[in-house]
Symmetry: C2
Subunit: 359 residues, 2 copies
């Protein structure tokens, strides 16, 4: 098996360890004579695994299990747009709109109640993170999206929101850098970028906040249902949770989030350095350098024809997933945790060569 | 690898072909140099696979793609309890309550509007399928649960509901026998019994019925969202869909639903025959023989001690998953499509031996 240089935006490359361990577990999970797709979610073997996954995650995030619950839910982050607002929007909530997904989260909340855009970088095509915002001190919560997969911006630190609870959609940079996670009342992330395959969304929720949640919600939309049943109210996505569990072990083996961040900074530097050096040819989408994402790097070439040629020639060199999101075009390289340094280096080298051949 | 005799109620045994193909695809999907957990759901390779899975399913069910859409959703069948009622409960809906899951479906609908229990076998501990029911000819729909995993009853044919649309939760006997599927306006099934791993729920919906659906629903709860985007509104559970795709190929290879039904009848007969022969010792839960499920067979022994001994000795013989559901106790053997004949035979032989040693 030859693995390609996988720059997919998600589902995306996973650590080779995780891939191989999951393949083995499909055949046999922990010597049970059953694969991970075939074992009961109520079995002691599965129970031990899911509990370890929850504990490892909290340990990596430096959060306490007394304070926070970890949930594994289906439906994707898009379902969390609805669940967050259903559970916690009572009077008014603030949304900082930094890209397509942040906007979708806002729009879903606005269907249910009084959601306000308290800051937005839409006017400048989402090429930066807003530096000021207009927060309501009495808001039920403020919602941010920590990384913008399509445009390539990223919050480098979490904002101060005073007494207003902070909710963060971390789907596309989850566990790629240390954050002060304890600032958040609720964090959610679709697994399929940094922590596993699609099919499971991780929700970390401050248990005490549930006292303020709305009552009388549909069973499956109510965070209480899943907290009270430790994510086993109904059958969870077992294999995606297993792959998540193995990814937590890989992060721990790599040295935790500080080490992961260093690794990610090195990879992104390869590519941003070429963009900066040949800035007339490679036009980075994000103008404010401090807002540049370590996860998704977006740029344009002088013409659509050159962009097409770039993608095609890269593919011939085994580099896939470089076409920009269909809503914006251009080129995008996603450099998630599991992308090896060699892949980033190969892309940077190709960019220099392509520049020399096409300038 | 020694595979056990897997009588789990779900997640449950899958065909060995499907297990091995999925393990291989985790390492490399169709020669792409990426595993099935790592490839984009917008790639042409994934797109071809999901479309083939949809087409194979409709072909197996003898339904037309012009009339029906196939959706792959997260959240489990429990999320469908909510979605069915959200989309289609306007004035009143009828629920036939034949077990725990049917009751949950009813209760969820009753939180949203006027849901009525039009028949129930609760009085007799769900030991049969009601033979009469009190349907409202103006109901928005009537909801049934075709197989009752916990108690072991099964609808052998779908009921006539006249002009009232029929909705069927087929989670635990989906594709285990031919039905006149065209009688239904909507069918849903969690994959983790007969058609794949947990993490994906299959919904088959008559497209024309959407004209009658409620407007202004939350995005992710609205069937329109998923029909319009062919299940790719957001990232779907890719690996579970792949395993489902391989399971469709296996069903086709086995000869379709008629052949599958014969196979299931043979397996169930092994076990029911022992129950009938030693009926003072093995007390089958379902008294009306025609209502006996081919998928889940529930019985009691003369004492809880003997039941515990039975489960323990069976386990020593490599038979797992025989403990009854925690809500009812006793013994339960699930004999889904993928369970080999030899496993049912091994269990029947053990039952005779256990009877002789403990009568």
């Amino acid at each position: 098996m030859t693995r390609v240089h996988n720059f997919n935006a998600g589902p995306a490359i996973l650590p080779l360890d995780v891939v191989q361990e999951t393949a083995a577990a499909v055949l046999d999970f922990n010597g049970t004579g059953m694969g991970i797709m075939e074992i009961s979610h109520r079995s002691k073997e599965f129970d031990a695994m899911i509990k370890e996954a929850q504990a490892d995650l909290l340990s990596i995030m430096n959060l306490s299990a007394d304070e926070y619950a970890v949930l594994f839910l289906g439906g994707g982050a898009s379902m969390q747009f609805l669940m967050v607002a259903s559970n916690f929007l009572k009077t008014s909530a603030d949304y900082i709109v930094t890209g397509v997904w942040a906007k979708k989260a806002y729009e879903e909340a606005a269907m249910l109640g009084d959601a306000k855009v308290s800051a937005s970088s839409k006017e400048t095509k989402f090429n930066q993170i807003p530096k000021t915002w207009n927060l309501n001190p009495d808001a039920d919560y403020v919602h941010i999206t920590t990384n913008n997969t399509i445009y390539g911006t990223e919050w480098k630190t979490l904002p101060e929101t005073g007494n207003v609870p902070l909710v963060a959609d971390m789907s596309s940079n989850f566990l790629s850098r240390p954050y002060d996670f304890g600032k958040c009342n609720l964090i959610y992330a679709g697994a399929q970028k940094n922590v596993g395959p699609s099919g499971v969304t991780i929700v970390i929720i401050k248990k005490s906040w549930m006292e303020k949640a709305n009552e009388k919600l549909p069973t499956m939309l109510n965070y209480r249902t899943h907290i009270d049943n430790e994510s086993l109210f109904n059958t969870p996505p077992c294999l995606p949770i297993y792959a998540f569990h193995r990814t937590m072990k890989w992060i721990l083996k790599m040295g935790g989030l500080e080490a992961i961040q260093l690794h990610n900074e090195k990879k992104a530097a390869y590519i941003y350095d070429v963009i900066d050096k040949y800035s007339d040819f490679y036009k980075g989408h994000v103008v404010v350098k401090e807002d540049r994402s370590l996860m998704n790097i977006s740029w344009n070439l002088p013409s659509a024809e050159l962009e097409e040629k770039f993608v095609k020639e890269a593919k011939a060199l085994n580099m896939v997933g470089l076409k920009g999101h269909r809503s914006v075009g251009g080129i995008r390289a996603s450099t998630y945790n599991a992308l090896p340094l060699e892949s980033a280096e190969a892309l940077a080298n190709f960019m220099v060569e392509f520049y020399n051949n096409n300038k």
